[in-house]
């Protein structure tokens, strides 16, 4: 016996599925349980198995999105007459088209209208009168009269089909019906291949309640120019670079002392100190202060430090130019001024260009580690994390040290692992003994 294969319902809330692939072609022998096609929903992709054996006589839907239970193929015996199944399948296809039409966006509708308007509708006066009375667009009715003339019966049949479609009922157990009535659930919303039982109704009702409580809403808005740029740059960096993440924990006792000692003279931040140290160390490791251009590597004898600054609308990276020749105080002043400008949107384009390395500090948010994305075409970026007291065993005693994790991302195309590790260790050396700076 031939059978119509439909778009399966793979989950409680699934209403449509995207047929993405056929494993079989027309004329193939199908065994029950064999994979025949693949369906994608917004959640998952499933391979669908044949529920019966036979020959795949007709593929109705090659690919694309269809509502559940809509026919996609016919499996039948080799010589079986499938014309009845075909017409059955195409009838429901037509009714679905009508449903779809209602959902299609305005433009499409208008387009349809105009094209339909151009086509003259041939219909008997009686048919026209009835269509008008029932509020039916007569252009949607297929004519069965000579030359495709629409007669009264065609309109009546159309109305009947519409009603049937509207009342399309799923199979239910009597108890499921009663419970659905008591709970006010429309069982037609529950799509299931076999009978809807009471547990299905209760499950659906629970789902509806959760949905009601959550009152889910999605808002769509255009991306700001800034967002678009960030999106493009982050994405292309991830695609282009061969990034590797390195983490190293450093003792910040001495860096804290330095900050304390300088406090009476000038108030500086950890970022200021780190920029200063980085500017020194980067000159020792030019690979990390480089740019890859085609098959060439460009290195410099200067450091332009990009400082990631968070704003409500997005991320900005103002640049401290030639940081390697500036003192901590100068660096500090400049970072403050750049950050301020960034916040009030008054950075000049020039002030955001030419960085050779970037530092990004998430320590104030308590981050312990992260994997920053390289600000391409730079080849490395340093992520700075929070300072946390960690117990160390020193001379048999537990002592707490203020530790900070450094998260480096480097492009392996230019920077090998050992180099990145050496670089991080040199940073550690400086951070743990900042007095080297005066050498």
């Amino acid at each position: 016996m031939g059978q119509i294969i439909v778009m399966p319902k793979l989950g409680l809330t699934m209403t449509k599925g995207n047929l993405i692939k056929w494993f079989k072609k027309e004329g193939d022998v199908i065994k029950k349980g064999e994979k025949i096609f693949s369906v994608e929903t917004d959640k998952l992709t499933n391979d669908i198995e044949a529920a019966c054996s036979g020959i795949l006589r007709k593929i109705i839907v090659e690919s694309g999105t269809r509502e559940i239970l809509e026919p996609v193929a016919i499996i039948a015996d080799k010589d079986e007459d499938i014309s009845e199944l075909l017409s059955k399948a195409s009838v429901s296809e037509d009714t679905n088209k009508v449903v779809e039409k209602e959902e299609v966006k305005k433009e499409v509708k208008e387009e349809k209208k105009s094209s339909n308007n151009n086509k003259r509708v041939k219909a008997s006066p009686k048919a026209k009168r009835l269509a008008k009375k029932e509020g039916i667009d007569i252009r949607l009715v297929d004519g069965s009269g000579p030359g495709g003339v629409i007669n009264e019966e065609d309109v009546l049949e159309f109305i009947e089909n519409m009603k049937k479609e509207a009342e399309k009922k799923v199979k239910t157990s009597p108890t499921a019906d009663k419970i659905a009535e008591n709970l006010g659930v429309d069982v037609n919303n529950i799509s299931k291949e076999d009978r809807v039982m009471k547990d299905d109704v209760i499950e659906y009702w629970n789902f509806e309640r959760v949905q009601e409580m959550a009152s889910p809403k999605e808002t769509t808005k255009d991306m700001s120019t800034m967002r678009k740029i960030i999106a493009d740059r982050m994405h292309s960096s991830q695609q282009v670079t061969a990034s590797v993440n390195y983490n190293l924990s450093v003792d910040t006792t001495e860096m804290q002392n330095l900050r304390k000692q300088l406090k009476p003279f000038y108030k500086i931040t950890y970022t200021d100190i780190l920029v200063k140290i980085l500017s020194k160390v980067l000159l020792e490791y030019p690979e990390l202060n480089a740019t890859m251009s085609g098959q060439k590597i460009i290195t410099r004898n200067y450091v332009n430090m990009g400082i990631a600054v968070a704003k409500e609308e997005g991320l900005l990276v103002p640049v401290v130019k030639y940081a390697n020749v500036k003192g901590i105080k100068g660096i500090s002043k400049e970072i403050k001024s750049l950050a301020k400008k960034a916040k009030i949107n008054s950075l000049e384009p020039d002030e955001m260009q030419g960085a050779t390395f970037t530092i990004s500090n998430l320590g104030m948010y308590g981050m312990e580690s992260f994997t920053p994305i390289i600000n391409h075409p730079e080849v490395a970026i340093l992520g700075v994390n929070t300072i946390k007291d960690v117990a160390h065993k020193i001379d048999g005693e537990l002592k707490f040290k203020p530790m900070m994790n450094l998260s480096l991302t480097a492009d392996h195309r230019v920077v090998d692992g050992s180099k990145a590790a050496e670089f991080l260790n040199r940073l550690k050396e400086y951070i743990e003994n900042p007095s080297i700076l005066v050498l």
Partner: protein
């Protein structure tokens, strides 16, 4: 897929056939008889006896009222035993043919799991054969519980297996345990003229079923001369000539009963010994532990039926077997335990499916009851068995049928209507609007459903 099944009872042989249908390579190990307890010493032989006893009893008691006069009516115990044995061997032979037709390899012996995918079979001739498998299904069944009462091994104390093949009827019989098995044997022997006493620890016989049903049986057994001692314990057995003394203890004090034979029917326990469960770390506690796929704690070993210690009924074992095989052969299959019919083949018959009133009360379900006494049934009157009733338990909220219970003629056949109603989540309305043939016992089922709304045609309200 190579499937090994240990045990050839209604769980094991049904599994074997279903597995073969689905294309598996099946080996079945059976140590004694294909068909297991059910076919050989349980369901089938007891019902052969009951059938003859029913005919005999009806004619003896009501023959002349039914219009049958006879001069000499007697049960020929030997012939009856032969008939029983013939039916059993015919059925066992039939199952063996089915297994053969499905190319199931049957090994006669005792199976024991040795490794994850290996078992050894000690064949009846003592030789040992090794069998490898992908999946195994344990279906080893149950055996009669023997409790350590002093004197339990006294000669003349029988299990249900042994009492079936008694060469002659005893003059008196004491049945220890008034559950389903005990009550069925009481129904057989009392109506054959044996002086029967039931000793039951609980307050009533077949305490697992609705009292509204069992009270009919209680009355009927007593009417056939059975003495029923409830809330009574056996403390000791002792030999007394060719009889047995049964020492009992109840609220009324201690006393001693005396009977020619004693039947122990206090329950059955899962057979789990010697299966190699320990070697494979398979959990068992009062039976082999399984999940709803019938899988044991070892992923490729399944267990079904009595040996899992659940509901010990042949039809449950078969259903579990089919579910296990289908799960093995990748058809996702679960068993719906709510549609299990419970049947007692006494006179009158008792059958039950789904929730009892007590269950509904315990679960705090708002329920309604509809019932119909068989005294109002034409067919029951024709059968001369107007004592009994049909009863429905339904949900007040949805009118879903939660349980059907019946006592009376054909109850065990009619209960399937209730099971189907439960399976389909039918409401009272579906029973009421289904046309039931006249005159049949099934009309009473429809009337009981009508009674939920106080609308039975043949009742006065």
């Amino acid at each position: 897929m190579k499937i090994l099944i240990i045990g050839g009872g209604p769980g094991g042989y049904v599994s074997a056939i279903r597995a073969a249908q689905l294309g598996a390579d099946v080996t079945l190990i059976e140590k004694k008889y294909i068909g297991g307890t059910c076919l050989n010493v349980g369901c089938i032989p007891t019902k052969v006896l009951l059938n003859t006893v029913d005919l005999y009893d009806t004619l003896m008691k009501d023959g002349s009222a039914l219009g049958i006069d006879f001069e000499k009516l007697a049960v020929n115990w030997d012939t009856l035993q032969n008939r029983k044995n013939n039916i059993v061997s015919d059925l066992v032979g039939g199952v063996e043919k089915l297994l053969e037709a499905d190319a199931v390899k049957v090994l006669r012996g005792t199976g024991k799991l040795t490794q994850k995918n290996k078992a050894e079979v000690t064949l009846l001739d003592g030789s040992v054969e090794e069998v490898t498998f992908d999946k195994a299904i344990l279906a080893t069944g149950s055996k009669v519980t023997i409790v350590p009462i002093p004197g339990i091994d006294t000669e003349g104390i029988l299990t249900s297996d042994e009492i079936l093949s008694l060469e002659e009827l005893p003059e008196s019989l004491c049945i220890v345990g008034g559950g389903v098995i005990g009550s069925e044997f009481a129904s057989v022997f009392s109506r054959l003229g044996v002086d029967v006493t039931i000793v039951e620890m609980l307050p009533r016989i077949i305490a697992t079923m609705e009292e509204t049903l069992t009270q009919y049986l209680d009355y009927s057994l007593k009417d056939s001369g059975v003495k029923i001692l409830t809330e009574t314990k056996v403390t000791k057995f002792g030999k007394n000539g060719d009889h047995i003394d049964i020492h009992i203890d109840s609220a009324e004090g201690k006393s001693i009963l005396n009977a020619e034979k004693v039947l122990l029917s206090i329950g059955r326990r899962p057979v789990v010994e010697g299966l190699g469960l320990e070697a494979l770390n398979i959990d068992q506690k009062n039976g082999i532990a399984i999940n709803e796929m019938m899988q044991t704690s070892a992923e490729n070993i399944y267990a079904i039926g009595d040996c899992t210690g659940g509901v010990m009924l042949a039809h449950v074992a078969s259903a579990q077997g089919i579910a296990a095989v289908e799960n093995i052969m990748t058809i996702n299959s679960k068993m719906d335990f709510k549609t299990i019919p419970y049947c007692v083949y006494t006179k009158p018959e008792i059958a039950s499916v789904g929730m009892t009133e007590a269950d509904a009360k315990e679960k705090n379900i708002d329920y309604k009851v509809g019932s119909f006494p068989l005294s109002g049934s034409g067919k029951a009157m024709i059968l001369n068995e107007g004592e009994g009733l049909v009863k429905f338990i339904i949900s007040s909220e949805t009118e879903e049928i939660l349980g059907m219970h019946m006592v009376g003629p054909k109850a065990t056949e009619l209960i399937v209507e209730g099971a189907l109603a439960l399976r389909l989540e039918a409401t009272v309305d579906e029973i009421v609007t289904t046309i039931h043939a006249h005159p049949t016992m099934s009309e009473s089922v429809q009337e009981a459903a009508h009674d939920v709304f106080k609308q039975a045609i043949h009742l006065m309200y």
